[in-house]
Assembly symmetry: C2
Homo-oligomer: 193 residues x 2
Amino acid sequence: MGTRRRGEELERAILHAAADELRESGYAGLTMDRVAARAGTNKNAIYRRWPHRAALGIAAYRHLSDAALPDPDTGSLRGDALEMLRKANETWSSPHGAVLRGLLAAAADDPELLTLMRERSGADTMDRAWLGMLERAAARGEAPAAAAHHRVATTPIMLLRAEYAMRGIPSVPDEVLVEIVDEVFLPLVRGRG
Amino acid sequence: MGTRRRGEELERAILHAAADELRESGYAGLTMDRVAARAGTNKNAIYRRWPHRAALGIAAYRHLSDAALPDPDTGSLRGDALEMLRKANETWSSPHGAVLRGLLAAAADDPELLTLMRERSGADTMDRAWLGMLERAAARGEAPAAAAHHRVATTPIMLLRAEYAMRGIPSVPDEVLVEIVDEVFLPLVRGRG
DNA sequence: CTTATAGGGTACGTGGCGTACCTTAAGCGG
DNA sequence: CCGCTTAAGGTACGCCACGTACCCTATAAG
């Protein structure tokens, strides 16, 4: 009776319900019927807003984490890089990360969804953080100025990403992170002099 | 009527049918009913051999390509590396590659399937080819011996893989490959002196 | 006060996986 | 040569989940 939710309010309720389902069951376990039930509405209201499950999943994902992105300042480039990698590894291996990987897999053959993902997952922001790190290192004289290059900055997380793609669910061991920094990232920075 | 196929013969027929379906419809479009129909048999015969769709998909994938893996010798490290990357890019952006990426996505949260994939997709072989390339370059005096390191060798393909994970279906543009080689791989090799 | 709009309820079509059962052919041991 | 075990064929089904179609009702806007 009385109150029938509409517009914004209903939309928030749906997204909230969907985010809860994501948290509890992951993307694979996210069903439209259960989201509708949990939000106390029906599938119509959902399909009027998102064309299919994947779109809802992606939209709901942002409600999971506001990803306080680290901006470490340990004093050394090596320390900063390791810190960044470790934080990323934590995030990706957490339940959040599992959800994110599930979404990524689901969007893998739909370019439209992929771009949506990138916007919502803050990948670009992360890239900029790495670039900033390199610039600070260059300012300290710890790295050549030519090292502050986009490809260089993104290399470590790209490697981490690929590592996840090859391995699967469990977190990447810390030794691998150290290797990425010591055997690839630092030599690479050095090599650009 | 005489002939009812059994054992090996039937198994080959099923795999052949599944491979055809993969080629035509990709992994997402691979259905058990159609494979059974195409092989002129029924789902029982399939489920007696593979526990689920994903397992069949992976088993059938090997019938698609025997991936003649390139072992270039252009005389320069840069040339060899670019050649390898370009071949990999071609493969990954071909229909074969689409199938492979579909399988990878499907196996993403099942470690057991992932290891199966790695065996069947010849990823390890590719890694060894890169290492060999680096060793030859070192022998020519074109690279420090310390550059022939596993992490270094796998970096370019890992970056390519990650690039696919971020972008989706279309092939990665050649400029990106060149950048990976010139801005990352070669400086990295140089930096390990 | 009327009317367009959007939500609620519900049922259904469709497709695909995996399973259950029974019937029938093949091969094998005696 | 014969029966028995094993594997194939045929078919139907349970189940689940997506997406759609209707029809009814509350809400807000004019």
